[in-house]
Amino acid sequence: MELTGDKAKAWLLNFEAKIQEHKAYLSDLDQAIGDGDHGSNMARGTEAVKVNLEKIAEPETAEVLKQAAMALISKVGGASGPLYGSAFMQMAKTAKETTDIHELIEAGLEGIKHRGKADVGDKTMVDTWAPVVEALAKDALTNEAITQAVDATKPLKAKKGRASYVGERSIGALDPGAVSSGYLFTALVEEVLQ
């Protein structure tokens, strides 16, 4: 399926709304195994994405993704800023060649892995992105599949980022970045795939 500019814009505006709605929850999740700032980091970043996107009257996919990347890079800070920023930057580059959703999200995942050096199973946002990419390859991305991927971070022990400092104590908690990425993809399902 193709990601048109209009759809891309609607997708990211929906993502922003979800982040604002769940800001406190994301920070609480981060408080448990990190430093409690993931909600405010993402709220600040997606707010800036919204400001950038609302200026675009005739959205074009690569431009929408690039504007999102710039906003996230310059406003989020922390670990998630460069990670989401790199994801959207890679997607924007890929969008110049293709607007196939699977290929775009796959490029985004590569951006995250390149920046953060995390693998599947390290209890990071990669654990949401990787199964999503697989589901998209089969044209089978659903909200259930997303929830399943996010929930699967619970039993994992964190090996990357701040949460790795609490070691064993991270077991049993959801990874905040995996949850915020979950919102990104539920927004994708709602605005684009359904």
Partner: protein, 340 residues
């Protein structure tokens, strides 16, 4: 308006501020009003930079706010050229770091001094890539002095804490003397392997926007090995006398530093924000008595608040290997900064 802020659980956070979200910007403005004789800001950024830039490699450091006087208090002749301030306890963003790099370059390149935290590492890396695209030579030195964390592939590695300030001072001196970027980088990479730190906390730090301490310790509890954002340490215990804390920290730090047959060391006793200077000296007294057990000479010391954690009660002890006298000379050279 009554200057109190309702935190979660209805506890009142008492701070002399106007609004939690304004703290970083208002602090920055205050610093610039106070020290405009040698410091300036860069419009639309949270960068503090020295006014008079020598034609040498510029040292740029920074990180989340809340560690004052780090890092802005170390900007000036003979130390940092610029500091980038992030949100409270959150790494600054690449665009801001990039502005600091551009403004710090005099054609001799820029050296980034980064504390080893995932966020800082990635944001400084991105800024470095962006600066290289603009043809500025950039190198970076990663500080990871906190030995409370195991360095393994299963963690994000050892954290960068108070020892970072010693790196600023030593590399700042050599940069001021005209050392080239590559040489500063090799010197810095070797230096960081000879700096070790351990901290203890008696209470957690309160980020204004969060409104409650990042972790909670019972009335008579303390924690060994905490990080400067309240990251968990290696053990919780009942509060011990200074002498026993000194014994534990000194023992662990010395066994690390003695793996290199060290003869001369320097010490940094650093307050975490809400510990009175008198306690730092009580602790220093105990450290010195403890060190009598070892065959080492103490050739340098610093006692005070250098890398704080907002209002955390506690301190950290840093031991640096100073067998190479050039390092000691660099530590002792005069500087034109606010808080060394």
């Amino acid at each position: 308006m009554v200057p109190v802020f309702k935190a979660k659980e209805d506890k009142i956070m008492k701070k002399i501020i106007n609004h939690p979200s304004q703290v970083v910007d208002e602090m920055l403005k205050g610093m610039l009003y106070a020290h405009s004789d040698f410091l300036e800001g860069i419009d639309e950024t949270r960068v503090i930079i020295e006014k008079d830039k020598q034609p040498t490699v510029g040292l740029v450091s920074g990180g989340g706010s809340g560690h004052e006087p780090a890092h802005a208090g170390f900007v000036g002749e003979g130390m940092l050229r610029a500091a980038v301030l992030g949100e409270m306890f959150t790494s600054p963003t690449p665009d801001q770091i990039l502005e600091a790099i551009k403004a710090s370059d005099t054609g001799h390149g820029v050296l980034l001094i980064v504390k080893n935290y995932t966020g800082d590492v990635m944001n400084f890396d991105m800024a470095k890539e962006m600066a290289e695209m603009e043809d500025i030579q950039v190198a970076s030195v990663l500080v990871d002095d906190d030995i409370a964390v195991e360095d393994s592939t299963y963690t994000a590695g050892k954290r960068g804490v108070a020892g970072t300030v010693l790196v600023h001072k030593i590399l700042g001196h050599f940069a001021h003397e005209g050392m080239a970027l590559n040489d500063l980088k090799s010197l810095g990479d070797a230096l960081v392997t000879d700096i070790h730190t351990l901290g203890v906390a008696l209470s957690g730090a309160t980020v204004p926007e969060v409104g409650k301490p990042g972790f909670h310790l019972g009335e008579s509890e303390m924690e060994y090995g905490v990080g400067i954002h309240g990251e968990p340490g290696y053990r919780r215990d009942t509060l011990k006398p200074s002498r026993e804390i000194a014994k534990e920290l000194t023992g662990k730090l010395m066994s690390e530093i003695m793996t290199k047959k060290t003869k001369k060391i320097g010490l940094l006793v650093n307050g975490l924000g809400a510990t009175p200077l008198q306690e730092l000296y009580v602790f220093y007294n105990d450290v010195i008595e403890e060190l009598a057990k070892y065959d080492v000479e103490i050739v340098f010391n610093k006692i005070g608040d250098f890398m704080t954690s907002i209002d955390m009660t506690g301190l950290s002890l840093t031991v640096i290997r100073l067998d190479d006298d050039k390092r000691t000379v660099a530590l002792e050279a005069p500087v034109g900064v606010l808080n060394w």
